[in-house]
Amino acid sequence: MKRRNFIKKMGFAAGAPIAFQGIPMKVLGSHQNLQRLAAQSDNDRVLIILQLHGGNDGLNTVIPISNYDEYYSRRANVAIPYKVGNRTLIPLDSTVATEEQVGVHPDMHDFKYLYDTGRAAVFQGVSYRNNNGSHFRGRDIWFMGGDADDYFSSGWVGRYLNTQYAPLSYPADFPTTEMPDPLALEMGNDVSLLFHQEGNIPTSISLGSNPEGLANLIEQLEGFEDEGIDPRGNPPAFLNDSPYGQEMNWILGLEDKSEVYIQRLAEIYEATSETTVTYPETYPFNAPQGAKTNPLSNQLQVVARLLAGGIKTKVFLVKMGGFDTHASQVESYDPTMGLHGALLYHISSAMRAFQADLRSRGIEDRALTMTMSEFGRRIGSNGSYGTDHGTGGPTLMFGLGVKQGIYGTVPDVSQSNVGLQFDFRQICANILKDWLCVDQSVITNDIFFRNFIDGTDPDGGTYEPIDLIKEVILGEKEVVKSKYKITSLYPNPANNYTQVKVMVNNYQDVKVELIDLNGVVVSEFNRSVAPGEHTFSFMLDGMSPGFYFIKAKSQLLDDTKRLIIRK
């Protein structure tokens, strides 16, 4: 099919980005400063937003340990056990202070692995002032990035993309040679408020699971015909401002972008190989049948494949539903299993596979994933093994660029709701600044209309910058070594004994070996250990003086130190 530029004829009046309203586009386009601004945006990092639809129960996702007893008493029928039984919460990081200790759900092993290998972080108490108990308003507020009483018709990502590519405006000026791809992609078929811009079609394209089939179909349909006199149906000028004209332009805009972009996406998709990683398919424990299939695996596979094909799209939205757990959130006989456990398993296992997929394709440093859910749930459970709508909750973050950590403090569970520690826009703003390298003034003036990085908090005080992105993305080894290592070897040089102190951050079978210069294992310990520091004592009586090595190994631990024996 032939390319066309009919959209210019139609004149999308409201497409101008906010910062440049009222200034003729032609002049802007040739203005050097502005061209530079557009060029600045040129990094290959992408943001993936994982929407947890329905209001995730944060307190069974990230479980407080320091006030566990109170947590338990507030929600005994759904509480995740601690130190009782064989499915108990997994302590996330024993290296943090006792009062900051948290655990994750027993079905989040893979999350724990991602955390330990420097690919995950937790933010507690993410919310906004006057958190709205409605699914719909709540989600709109997250998507539009406003206050509880704002009604923007654009989303924060839509505004980000508007500024990112200014002075070009979407859809009229796209695609370009530099940006041949959709600015944003939404997996599934929706058009979320997240990607909306003021008065025009959203900046995203929605994509089902089969880009090739869709492209073929578009190619065949008369409705996408673009040759001839007026194949499109631009309404006559006098109807342009009528409701009919507006709806017509909406459909025409999407029709055009669909055709152009789907072809391009199909090409990228076809040219890239399938994943070599096995993605998870089902939840292995008891849960309602409808919740057993992993809803993320397919979506994430498509994203990984497109990224590997060199797609330049900046923002992706993947979604899963089922979090509105008013009833039967857990199985009545085992609070660690059931609907919610399955959902958390799906997230953790699919994200681990996704990271592995990206790694095998050599692009793991490009993607950052954050979760969002319209609200957290009530601290106290209800009588139907469920939880009602609450306010604050945790945000999970994934990716090699994330600074591993537990951000914020353990929530006060004596209240009815989880209190606010981070406005969600603080997290988004810091990601825009440090991950997507957007100018702070642009974030403040054109995206969130408030300085969420270090400006004044209207509730009092100032926002603190959140240091959540690694300045240098370290290899996995360096990250693991910070929490799995030989912490000391003493005495060294040693005479008749030495003590090795080993730190681990998970339950592990640890092997500590004493090895001579020829590589022969002279002596060894095998021990199952809990997170924390452990001491291994080697008796050295009768051993020849000289150089030796102490080697500590486990699933994640691999550290060696030199030992000198003197007599």
Partner: protein, 593 residues
Amino acid sequence: MPLTELTGPLGKKRAAHLLRRACFAGTVSEIESFALLTPAQAVQQLFDAALPDPVLPIDPLTGQEWITQGAQSEGFELEGFFLAWNLSQILGNGIEETKKLSYIFRERLVFFFHTHFTTKRSVVGNARSLYHQQALFRLFAFDGTDIIIPPEDPDDPDSMETIVPRNFKQLTKKICVDNAMLVFLDGRLNVKGSPNENYARELLELYSMGRGLEGNVPEPEFIGDYFYYSEEDVQAGARVLSGFTTDTTFATIDEETGLPRGTARGGTTASSHEEGSKTFSIRLGNAVVTPDPDLLLGGNPTEESALDEISQFVDLIYSQEEAARHICREIYRFFVYHQIDQTLSDDIIQEMADVFAASEFKIQSVLEVLLTSEHFYEAEAGSDDNNFGSIIKSPLDLVVGFIRNFEIPIPDYVTELETFHDFASGILQSMSNQGLDYYEPFEVAGYPAYHQFPIFNRNWIATNYLTNRYNFIRGSVSNGIIMEMGQVDILQFVRDNFSDAIASNARDLIIAISEYFLPTAENLSFDTPDVGELTVERLNYFLTAFLFAPQIDADPEAAWTFRWMNGVDDEVIANQLTNLFNAMLQSPEYQLM
């Protein structure tokens, strides 16, 4: 007065508009006959109170209805049969011609109620509950007259007939203890001492009071304040609603509706219902719902006292002016246009709300005023701010509208049940491909097109969905691709509906088709620019697709006339018509209603 009545005959354009909005679409002959009526006459014909009841849904394994007796088919199959049966009603299948439009209009209102009091079949998991919920909607769809229950003993002069109000408020009370709703929003789990607020919250937020006009809601004044109600009201409401569970034997019959409903937990007393009075927040005037002492049994709540509390609570909600405005905004968005600003709200919506409240919340009263108003058609005279083609069709509107436009033959529900079921699954599959998984909206607020600010029905248009809409048209008018739901015999259709004088002239035919099936198509001309509601270029594009792509004749227009008048080479005629209809219907114009 903003809602000025439109007088004089409708004419073709307005008749087609009214039939699209009220009955999914009109056939050529229906449009012609409505064109001669005034809006008042047309709307009166649509609200025909004397409609037949639907035949009950049938299980193909037994050949018997499965509502009052057992079925052999599995539960999930019954769900599919229910949806198919519902489509049979929507299509007016087997209904006599004089009642058909009214019957279909009632079904479109039933669909409106379903988008409002929504449900999901995967959650409810019971086809009979879905059926009975829909029967409740049908009972309340035409609410112009109240429900009259005949006296128990007609021969006893002291035995009186009972009059039960039939209106939206009454429906709201009934839906609170509806079996499907008790499951869908966990009402059956809401018990004394352990409230489950799910239903109470959505009752206030989605079903009655609403959250106000988007972008124009005043600031909250305290924690948990939503201005028109508050968290406290959700909690008090949950206490009022507590203590009910489902009765899936469907033996508990509501005396006023004659339909099955849920039942209070407990025996002679409603032992799981919260005792005592329930106090609401300042947003509801600090009102108190108090159990009627006459209905208590030894001081304990009974099913009657609990139902009475629900009735008091719903009365309390509807005593707030915002409730009528909220529901009228939904009516407006469903029938007129999705964009409502403060000016329109103060003007049109407020007037609708006033009519609504003055009629004790009768939907019919509001619709009678709205559908006969100038605003529904041209908006204000002389402005281009009209409401023709301002709604993007839902997949149901598109598919059912297409079947009605082209009078695709529908297998009989009783005598050709199996064929009908195949036909219906074809429709349901098409709708699902276009983004409407019928009776399975993704979220509890229902299909996003009916609630998702700011884009509402624009939600129906996404890449996949639009492609599948066009694909549906192609499958239904092309030669060679057989769809389960049947195809238009396009040649026969044109022969049956257009005179030779029109059909033999390619340009006149295009104009006639446009006028019946596209929402704005007045003053069309192939030559004079800037007068017609479709551009000269657009019409010529249709002509090109019709006769010039491929061009097999030296003078294609003359050749068309010759073939048509002499009845030669039907194959060429049918192919050319197929090309024409594909060009005209795989179009943004046909996506609008």
